[in-house]
Each structure stands twice: as structure tokens, then as C-alpha cells.
Assembly symmetry: C2
Homo-oligomer: 270 residues x 2
């Protein structure tokens, strides 16, 4: 049954809205995703919301109808809200047709199946949620298994990270660990390739990626810490022509992931 | 002479602060850049501020001293402000040591020297200022000449775009034009290579970039319009393994710029 909700004081509306806050996400074990396209990606990845709000317009859309059907079948709570109320929930003037709460998955390293992908991305203290979402999105595009976030990285389940991931938060695996845990876990399981600007690096074009590999990028400001670089099996650098000698971390990840993809699945007839 | 300023009501403080607003930027012909590192990049590119605010800490720094000296020599107005006032100017809690107003350069196509670089980036209605800044930063890293922004793109001189560019707003050229103006101007001057998901595209790894080339990317949501794709000399696509079939526009630019760089300046002994 779809419940008609018109008041911002409704507990379920307040619950959805509260998920913009990290403490509430941790307490509830839920995160917020928005938009029919993204929630349909979730469905394709076998993920059904716990709580779903739709506008009448989204309800009339074939994707919306399928989402509602799957949610009701899984005994999720489904609400019909006004566009104004949807804007309140998402904090966006131009809100989409749906907002939904999903269970935060297990993000421990032990839950990862390394064999599921030839390449995994890892980031040390990635601070910007937009960068995290963009890195996940690029993992999806290149077939990397997912993103392992180390140390004091930002929350990958924040509204901003989920938005930037464009649905990849559902299709890719996400793990969270300390640097020490990561090296102990990944070391025996594959080759750890760090991206760095200095030290014993090779030009990234000279490195041959072997599956499975873990591609490790450093923090936006500080780059890869020296003791982390020392524990990598190989270090690659991107050539820099300009004066600034720096690159956005998500762009750096994109260039390296596409390069690795080129080696792992070369263009036929090249 | 360095003026001590302690009041947020000071007209020069208000003038700097006003540059967060697009109308004020257009009216004054000025934009705001922050941080000693970025203002030092500007100096390296031969750009001196019209108006400079520094904290006492930045004044004592060798880079700050050099910046002040160059600014005074160019008859710029230089103010010493408190950290609190600096936070007011930049709107950041954790403001850096300096904020400066620079003249907005000529952004007409006729001001570009195409021969100055083998490759130029162009973007159609790029809406996100962070993407614009990141694209400029990648132009700097790869040696692309700069960014040509078409149609309803966001302002490359907004505080957010300038921040994301990490100084590349000074080292790279920026132009603004309509799509029609761009094709008429670029067509006779080089090869226009569009990035697209469908149509008569080739895998980007199969395309041979020739200098000078113009690499054209479409809007974040809509991609490259069909009539723009039709006017390109070649269309390239990035392979997509995932479900979402999309990539952040700045990541897409990064992968293609590094690929083109690889062809134009191949790794020795590869």
C-alpha cells in the first residue's frame, strides 16, 4: 500500500531527511539515494530500498512503477509525496521524482571478493565526497571492482558522494579500513600500485598491470604518505607538463584506471 | 605602502568580498584568487593583482614578501588584514594567507594563439564550476593550451572554478564563445575531435591526434548535441564496462588529454 503523505512533520519524511546527517546514517544503518535513474540502477544491482518516497509523476513513470512494485514486494514502506515535500527531503529546489533509504552494506575488507575484478581502487584520506563519488563512477565505467577508503576518508554514503557516484554506489563494492589493515590484507592478495609524484616511481605508461592489482592514491593535498609509498609493490607517476605539478585525485584515478583497462582488455586490432 | 585594515566595512575589503558575485565580477572586470601558492603561480605567469590582502603571517613568508613587492611595484593596493577579516573576504573558516583581485583577461577566440599548444580543450555548456576548474588544472598538467567554453557554460572566474583550477586559471588560456562561433573559428585552424557515446564514433585508442587539435566535450547531463557532433572532424568514445554508461566530464577530459599527450610526446624507449 502506498501512503499519501503531505506533512513535513511525518516521521518517515523526517527520517529520510535526517539521512543527510552522518550521525543519523550511522545510527540507522541507512543512506539516502535520489532519482529514478539511480534507484533503478540500485534495483539492477539487486538493491531494494527500506523506505521509498515518490511523487505522483514518478509513480506514473514505468521505472517508478517497477521500483514501487519491487519495494512493496520487499515489504518496504512506500510514500506518495508532493514535489514540495520532495524538495524538503532532498534539500534541492529541483528535486527528482524519488528519494529512498537503503541499508548501508558491510564495508569490511573481509567482505570483498578480490577475484571478482582484475583491479581495485584504494584512496588514502580522500576528503572530498564529490571525489569519492566520481572515483566510484569511474570504477563502474572501467570495470574496477570498487573503492577501498583508508584512514580518515570522507563518508562514501553521504548525499554528495552518492550523487556524484551516479548509481555506482550500488554497482561497485565499497570498503573502509586503516592503512595498516589494507596493506596486511591486500599484500598477499595482489600487487599494490601506488600513484606518487616523487621517489622510486616509473612513468605510468611503463608499468604493466597484472590482475589482481590494487591502485592506491593519496590524499588531495598531501599525496601518498612516504611510509605508505614504501609498502607499495610499485609506484607510478603521471607526467606533468605544467607549472602546478598536480592533478585532481579523481582525474588521476580515471587516467590510471583507463590505462590499466587498456592493458587488461586491449582494443582489438590495434 | 601597506595599509592596515581592521574593519569589514572598509571599501576595499567589501570590493574583494563582492567578487564572489558574478555581476560584481562583470562590473569590475575583476576576479578573486586565494592563497599564497596560487597567487605565486599567477606571478610566475606574469600576472600581478590589482588589489591584494595579506595576513601578517603571509607577509612574513618569502612567497608573500615577493608577492607584495611585485604588487607594490605595479601600483596595486596592498592591505594587511586580520585572519578573521580574511575569513570574511573568502567566506572560508580556514582561509589562507592572501586574497587578491586580478583583471579578467580577454576571453575572445581571436585572442587565442592556436600555435602555442598542440591541443586545446573545449566544453559545451559545462555547468559545474568545479568541473571547469578541474579541466583547466588538467590542461596545465598535460600541456594543453587552455579551455574554450561554449554556450551557457558556468563562469570560469567564479571563486569555485578558480579554486578547483589550483592556479591553472593563470597559466592556461580561457575563451568563451557560442558553438557556431567556435566551429567557424576552429574548423580552418585544426582538427575538431568530439567525445560522444553514440553515432559514428571510434574507440579513443584508435584515434591518432594531430596537432593542432580541439577536443570538444559535451554538457554533464546531455552530452554533445547531435548537430555539434555532426560538425566534428572525428568522434571518439571511451569504452564503458559498467551499468551507468557515463563518466564525469572532467575525468573524461583527463583520460583523453593524457592519451593525446602520450601520442604527441611518447614515452622514450617504450
Amino acid at each position: 500500500m502506498i501512503l499519501d503523505v503531505t506533512s513535513a512533520a511525518n516521521p518517515s519524511v523526517k527520517r529520510l531527511k535526517s539521512l543527510a546527517d552522518k550521525k543519523a546514517r550511522r545510527l540507522e544503518g541507512l543512506f539516502l539515494a535520489e532519482g529514478l535513474r539511480v534507484c533503478t540502477e540500485a534495483l539492477a544491482a539487486g538493491r531494494v530500498p527500506v523506505l521509498l518516497a515518490v511523487t505522483a509523476q514518478a509513480e506514473a513513470h514505468p521505472l517508478g512503477a517497477r521500483l514501487i512494485e519491487a519495494s512493496l514486494a520487499a515489504r518496504a514502506q512506500v510514500m506518495r509525496v508532493t514535489p514540495l515535500l520532495m524538495s524538503r527531503i532532498t534539500g534541492k529546489d529541483n528535486a527528482g521524482g524519488c528519494a529512498a533509504a537503503y541499508a548501508i552494506p558491510d564495508t569490511s575488507l573481509s567482505a570483498l571478493d578480490v577475484a571478482a575484478a582484475p583491479l581495485w581502487l584504494a584512496g588514502e584520506t580522500i576528503r572530498d565526497p564529490g571525489n569519492i563519488g566520481t572515483m566510484l563512477r569511474t570504477c563502474d565505467a572501467t570495470g574496477a571492482g570498487g573503492l577501498i577508503l583508508l584512514d580518515s576518508s570522507a563518508d562514501p554514503f553521504s548525499v554528495e558522494a552518492v550523487r556524484a557516484s551516479m548509481g555506482a554506489v550500488f554497482s561497485r563494492r565499497i570498503a573502509q579500513a586503516s592503512g595498516a589493515q589494507f596493506f596486511d590484507w591486500a599484500g598477499p592478495r595482489g600487487e599494490i600500485v601506488g600513484a606518487a609524484l616523487e621517489g622510486r616511481t616509473v612513468d605510468y605508461r611503463a608499468h604493466r598491470f597484472k590482475p589482481p592489482s590494487f591502485l592506491l592514491l593519496g590524499n588531495e593535498q598531501a599525496g601518498l604518505p612516504a611510509d605508505y609509498a614504501a609498502r607499495c609493490d610499485a609506484l607510478v607517476r603521471l607526467p606533468m607538463q605544467g607549472s602546478a605539478d598536480s592533478l585532481n585525485v579523481a582525474v588521476c584515478a580515471g587516467v590510471l584506471l583507463y590505462h590499466a583497462l587498456d592493458q587488461l582488455a586491449p582494443l582489438a586490432g590495434r
